[in-house]
């Protein structure tokens, strides 16, 4: 199968897989330790609204998704600070409303919507060079922000009340984290699609959590696991001629189930 590496589309797929894994490992770690899985699910599904708006206004759907997803994340963050009680209902509403906006605007757009299926389910083998560049920039931003604000983000995700007593800008840091989640979600749309984003965002970090004791090491292991899962998924999908996004997710899910099973056996001893 090595002759496949000679094709540019396959090299692009591998690069996209690695870039997505880096973002997933770093941001997914915060999502898992701060228990923000459902918020992230809401943000990622709302991204479909941005895709629909992109089609309707004739701009790059991924660009539309970036703006719309960041705005949704900030809106959810603002709501979270005020309405702690009904947060799960609000997430459900935003989740469905985003999808509904997407469906409506895709319907209103005259003509056929090309690639619509690949935004929903991903197709890493079709990632164009321009998107690779966009992903590279987003990864650079995510890595730089987390490297600069590692201590602050740790304090805020660990014990926000204490961070506030220490006079840290807790609200701004929480919103920043939501924006980083939104950017990561946009990156992952190309790789696994909107519907499956949440799995790639959380599974590598959740497995890594079982074997690490610090945020930093948890991130590093999650990045490595993400790379292994995406590359295995891409390879399998090529060999078996099945959709790549779904294959990557199933590889990750099987690994997670395996890790949990081993953990149970270890604790049983």
């Amino acid at each position: 199968m090595f002759e496949i590496l000679g094709f540019e589309f396959f090299r692009n797929a591998l690069i996209a897989g690695v870039l997505a894994s880096v973002a997933c490992g770093i941001i997914g770690t915060y999502v898992v330790v701060r228990r923000m899985v459902s918020v992230s699910g809401g943000i990622s599904h709302a991204a479909f609204g941005g895709i629909g708006l992109g089609y309707f206004f004739g701009i790059d759907p991924l660009l539309g998704a970036t703006g719309f997803t960041v705005a949704t994340a900030l809106g959810m963050g603002a709501l979270q600070l005020r309405a702690r009680q009904q947060m799960d209902t609000i997430i459900g509403a935003v989740w469905a409303a985003g999808m509904a906006i997407g469906i409506l605007f895709v319907y209103l757009t005259p003509g056929f919507a090309p690639d619509l299926f690949s935004y929903l389910f991903g197709n890493i083998l079709l990632v164009p060079r321009g998107d690779i560049l966009l992903m590279g920039v987003l990864v650079a931003i995510i890595v730089a922000v987390v490297a600069l604000l590692y201590r602050e983000l740790q304090a805020v995700t660990f014990d926000p009340d204490y961070a506030k007593v220490m006079n840290l800008p807790v609200e701004r840091l929480s919103l920043l984290l939501l924006v980083l989640i939104a950017l990561t979600v946009v990156m992952l749309i190309r790789v696994v699609g909107i519907i499956l984003v949440i799995a790639l965002l959380t599974l590598p970090a959740a497995i890594s959590r079982l074997y690490t004791t610090r945020i930093r090491s948890m991130m590093i292991l999650a990045v490595v696991l993400g790379i292994v899962f995406t590359l295995t998924g891409i390879g399998l999908s090529y060999l078996l001629d099945v959709p790549s996004g779904a294959t990557i997710i199933l590889v990750s899910t099987l690994a997670y189930a395996g890790a949990l099973g081993i953990e149970r056996l270890r604790q049983g001893d």
Partner: protein, 255 residues
């Protein structure tokens, strides 16, 4: 008399249509060991949150070392109610204690200096958990976790240490050990302790108040029957085994 470290004046808090605190005023002085008791739901945690700036009162003022700004709060050490944050979080004891220094670092992005590390080791020693510094907090016993939380509060050099129900989840011997640690800390800072359990009030408190929406105090270290009745709205049996009797007034008529 020296200036108070905490001054609460006529604080009133309404949450979701209910008045949780009303006309609450109190002053804590540098050498105080102040115990605030009261029934569950009496507003004890709310009062601490108002002092800490986590909750804005509907009316009234809070001054920390004479100042009202958020920056003054870095002189407060806070030991939250046990289990209010996630003990499964991947963080070592040393990292957690070190994070207590963040409030004192003003340059951005914040970086820990040699001084921050030195104070962290000192706080770990003080609490007797230096040997556990590289362990993950979820792998500690309840008493050890409690000491790690106090070490995080100490590392910020607080002028006042505020503790919210610190002994609820620990067994009796651990609680006793815990109070002897507090006694040792008294020389360095004022302590405010909040609890619903009048049986655990340590011997060395300097003042006691009862809180149930309103604050009842005689500015002494005695809990009088009228304070308890006012706070709990029913006569409370003061004959408790093992309670240091000096806390309780034997003369019911004495004010």
């Amino acid at each position: 008399m020296t200036a108070p470290v905490i001054e609460v004046e006529d604080v009133r808090v309404r949450l979701r249509g209910h008045t949780v605190l009303e006309d609450v005023s109190l002053a804590v002085y540098p050498d105080d060991f102040y115990a605030i008791i009261g029934p569950n739901g009496g507003g004890k945690t709310t009062l601490l949150k108002v002092i800490l700036g986590l909750l804005q009162p509907s009316s009234g003022t809070v001054r920390i070392l004479g100042g009202t700004g958020a920056a003054a709060r870095r002189d407060l050490g806070y030991v939250p109610q046990f289990r209010t944050f996630d003990f499964e979080y991947p963080i070592t004891v040393r990292e957690m204690v070190l994070s207590g220094r963040l409030g004192h670092i003003t340059r951005i992005p914040r970086r820990y200096g040699a001084d921050d590390h030195a104070r962290t080791e000192e706080a770990l020693e003080t609490m007797g958990i230096a040997g556990l510094a590289d362990r993950q907090i979820r792998n500690l016993s309840g008493g050890e976790q409690q000491r790690a939380i106090i070490a995080r509060a100490l590392v910020g050099d607080p002028k006042v240490l505020l503790l919210d129900e610190p002994t609820v989840y620990v067994d009796a011997p651990t609680a006793a050990q815990f109070y002897s640690i507090l006694d040792a800390l008294r020389e360095r800072m004022a302590i405010v302790l909040v609890t619903h359990d009048i049986g655990v009030i340590p011997e060395h408190v300097t003042r006691v108040a009862c809180l149930n929406r309103r604050l009842y105090t005689h500015d002494t270290n005695e809990i009088t029957p009228d304070m308890l009745e006012a706070a709990y709205h029913c006569p409370v049996d003061l004959i408790a085994h093992g309670v240091p009797h000096r806390v309780f007034s034997e003369h019911r008529e004495e004010d």
